[in-house]
């Protein structure tokens, strides 16, 4: 693959071939660069977005994303028909050290009928057994996949995930070779998205049995043992250099796959990526050097793309931190945290530091998630449900000043001394802001420090390497830390479930330690959407956990979203989540490439591309 050198020779050769073919269809190929060497291309072990992009080309699920007009839609892929019916579903849920049987009379049974004649890339048939095997494999803890929890929607998912020998399988049943059923307790609206998620893709048992004797995922590290079921198959993997995919003739819809070959160059050096893009070696790159963004926007107006992404950059406060000494109780601490969040100049951070079209955030659940009431979830957030969020975004000076005034008032209320002449607090305790080592996070941290310094508040910055940082945050050994979250699917539960007391992602430590007993929350527990009859003086477990539990069991979509909005109200009332911006996804794509699209989860789709 000589690309840079002799490129005019290659060009001449291509022209000669085109002439020889007398205008016949030209072989279409793309070279793109998303990221460095993927951790794994076993769909059950991958958890990265770049890996997912490769997997949606290599493999396929029951559903797939396609572009229709300007919108994305899910269409049937390996399935010919998926039907559902009400059924009594039996789940096993934790009960002390064991499991108790729980019946869901209003559960749902999905029946999946696979397409006729679908085949693996090696020519053997894809059957219902393949799906049953793959889902049970991906959802068991023993495999060690990051995303095994994605199967918890299916009955017995939780019990099976713990590797309890009594539950060797999810609630899956084979009907015949091309039909199987699965049971869900609550028919969540994002079930079809899960069925299109790479973790739900089938893998071939024969390939795994033959290659994974020592270690899971070995089969997926080598083109000679990689058996795929999607639009492409792997033809080469030169580690740390490139992965090449070529069209899979056995894919059921191969006739509609336009691109013959995709080469994923493996690099994470923004500058090198951009150089190769400019020289024409790459037709698409998924990241660019931050300091170049302004120039690129100007120089490549048709090629520099800012797309929406479902993700929030925020600051998390440890609710059990005692650094704000004057705040004697949790209610006061909430005020302090909210005040600090109000001071942040989001507009400046987005415009001068982020530069990639990020949207200043005033809520935790990001822009881009849909709402059954129409529009997006963020259009209905905030106490008034009018999309005004939980404070002003500060997009103009008056708004920002209003935020600052509220912040000053809150801190005075808690008892901190304010020098009216200097417009500074004089006795606010210095605190530590923790971030993981990276120039981008550092720039934001420095801005937060400088902004707060204007009001007499001292922030000391501390950085840790990624792995240590994650552990520190998870264990709650911090006061204030940067944080970020990207959705797994288009549903607010993908954001809100993480703050329940028991969640492994509860970095704020809600409902734990001293916070367990703080009975200060109010919530709309009867779910009628009326704030006046909110129940008051509830603990975290009695408010937030109950709301999330109710949402998980609610079958009415509108009601369910009311509960989720109510949960976000409780969450934001803590002040412990200080949203900064909603992420965007920036990439560059040559203007002669048509038919490309990306999803708000960051997946890129090249298979329908046409290179002019």
């Amino acid at each position: 693959m000589k690309i840079r050198k002799n490129s005019w020779l290659v060009l001449a050769g291509t022209a000669a071939m085109a002439l020889a073919a007398c205008g016949g269809p030209k072989s279409q190929s793309l070279t793109v660069c998303l990221a460095s060497e993927p951790q794994s291309l076993d769909p059950a072990l991958n958890s990265a977005v770049d890996g997912a992009t490769m997997l949606v080309h290599l493999d396929s699920g029951l559903y797939r994303y396609q572009k229709k007009g300007n919108a994305l839609e899910l269409t049937l892929d390996l399935a010919e028909e998926i039907s559902k019916a009400q059924a009594e579903v039996i789940d096993h849920e934790p009960d002390g050290d064991g499991w108790k049987e729980v019946k869901y009379p209003n559960g749902t049974r999905y029946t999946v009928k696979l397409r006729k004649g679908i085949k693996w890339s090696d020519g053997s048939a894809i059957t219902a057994d393949d799906f049953i095997y793959s889902w049970n494999r991906a959802s068991g803890a023993s495999l060690g996949g990051d995303y095994c929890y994605m199967f918890e929607q299916i009955a017995d998912g939780v019990a099976h995930e713990t590797d309890d020998e009594a539950y060797p399988s999810l609630a899956l049943k084979k009907v015949d070779d091309s039909t199987f059923t699965f049971d869900v307790m609550v028919d969540v609206p994002f079930m079809d998205q899960l069925l299109a998620f790479p973790t739900y893709f089938p893998v071939q048992k024969a390939a795994i049995d033959a290659n994974d004797k020592e270690e899971a995922g070995t089969w997926a590290t080598n083109p000679s043992t990689f058996v795929s079921c999607g639009a492409y198959k792997m033809s080469a993997w030169e580690h740390n250099s490139y992965i090449t995919l070529v069209k899979n003739p056995n894919y059921w819809d191969a006739k509609n796959i336009k691109l013959d070959k995709i080469t994923f160059a493996l690099s994470d050096d923004d500058n090198a990526m951009l150089a190769s893009y400019k020289s024409g070696e790459y037709q698409m790159i998924d990241s660019v050097p931050n300091e170049q963004i302004d120039t690129l926007k100007k120089d490549f107006p048709n090629e520099f793309v800012i797309a929406g992404q479902m993700g929030t950059y925020y600051i998390s406060f440890n609710v059990n931190s005692t650094v704000f000494s004057k705040a004697a109780n949790e209610a006061d601490r909430a005020k302090v945290r909210r005040a600090l969040g109000l001071f942040i100049d989001r507009e400046y951070i987005v415009k001068e530091i982020g530069k990639a079209g990020q949207i200043p955030a005033n809520a935790f659940v990001s822009a881009g998630l849909s709402d059954p009431a129409g529009g997006e979830f963020v259009d209905h957030n905030g106490a008034k449900r009018d999309g005004s969020g939980y404070y002003k975004k500060g997009e103009n000076d008056a708004d920002y000043k209003a935020n600052v005034d509220e912040a000053v008032a809150l801190l005075k209320e808690v008892g901190y001394a304010y020098d009216e002449a200097q417009k500074k607090f004089t006795d606010f305790p210095a605190f530590k802001y923790l971030y993981n080592t990276s120039s981008g996070h550092q720039a934001i941290a420095e801005n937060v420090r400088d902004t707060l310094a204007r009001y007499g508040i001292t922030v000391n910055l501390e950085n840790q390497d990624w792995s240590q940082f994650l552990q520190t945050r998870k264990e709650g050994n911090y006061d204030v830390a940067r944080n970020g979250w990207v959705a797994d699917y288009d549903d607010p539960s993908s954001y809100l479930t993480m703050w329940t007391t028991v969640s492994g992602n509860n970095d704020c430590q809600f409902g734990r330690g001293a916070h367990k007993d703080a009975a200060i929350y109010e919530a709309d527990l009867n779910n009628n959407g009326t704030i006046e009859d909110n129940e008051k003086n509830l603990t975290w477990a009695q408010s937030y956990d109950v709301l999330m539990n109710n949402a998980a069991k609610e079958t009415d979509a509108n009601k369910r979203f009311q509960i989720l909005h109510a949960a976000e109200d409780v969450l934001m009332s803590t002040g412990a989540i200080c949203p900064i911006y909603y992420y965007t996804d920036i990439y560059m794509l040559k203007s002669n490439v048509e038919g490309f699209f990306s999803s708000p989860l960051g997946y890129k789709f090249f298979m329908y591309c046409n290179v002019k």
Partner: protein, 311 residues
Amino acid sequence: MNKKMVFYILKRIGLGLLTYLIVVTVTFWVMQLVPGGPWTREKALSDAVIAALNKRYGLDQPLFVQYLRYLGRAMIGDFGVSYYYKGREVTEIIFNGFRYSLGIGAAAAVLALIVGIALGTYAATHQNKFFDRTIMVLTTASVAMPSFVTALILLYIFAVNLRVVPTSPVGVDGIGPYILPVIAASLYPTAYITRLVRSSTLDVIGQDYMRTAKSKGLKPERVLMKHGLRNSVTPVITYFGPMFASIITGSLVIEKVYQLPGVGREFIRSIQNRDYPLIMGTTCLLALLLIIFTLASDIAYIIVNPRVDFD
């Protein structure tokens, strides 16, 4: 070889093994002290998954048991599978990166030897002439300048401005992308060898046996080649072993600048990912290389220079 020499070599091998054992041990225990672990994720893994992973890799065993097990495997060069790159063996990952490091290291070492000895000898025989002075200035600069500076300057001139070679080897075939890294890696050793050879040649030229050879009527070139060189390159041999090991192991900066997927990059990544087996594998490999090349160099030295006193 006399008895003393054999005993000396055996002693050195024994010391080398002991050094390896110490490196292996220190790495293991220091790794345990570093906060964070291989299973920390932005989206937390469940307790069941962490327990399953710990069990699979023996991390549920007491530390001392883990240490002994690892020690046994380290001695036979088996480091198991990577925790990060699923399904890939540590030895395979290391070999994959080592191809680049070794290739570039070997090419750079040969280049440094040839150019260094030639320039050093020439400079010594033309002492205080213009050429000698120029060489001295250039080599001083090369020794003093850190490799990330020289590597970036080369990259900027030849890859970015003149575009005679690609900036990175990702997705590019051929030797083009490796020319600059070889030159960058060879700069320091070339300069060092040049200075070493120059001063030892000057030393040798003044010796009695050189004057004797000259007075026999031999041509000056022949005197230098036949009688001088063997003695003047002796210090280079001592330097060569550690130099070769350090070019290979210490090319982290060069690998980073030129985007080379060498073993140095895997080493850094393995630490970031807390990929214990890969950390162990790369550390042990780097330690072993240093030990072997230093040993080989010492042995070569006593062969070339039989006057070495073993006591």
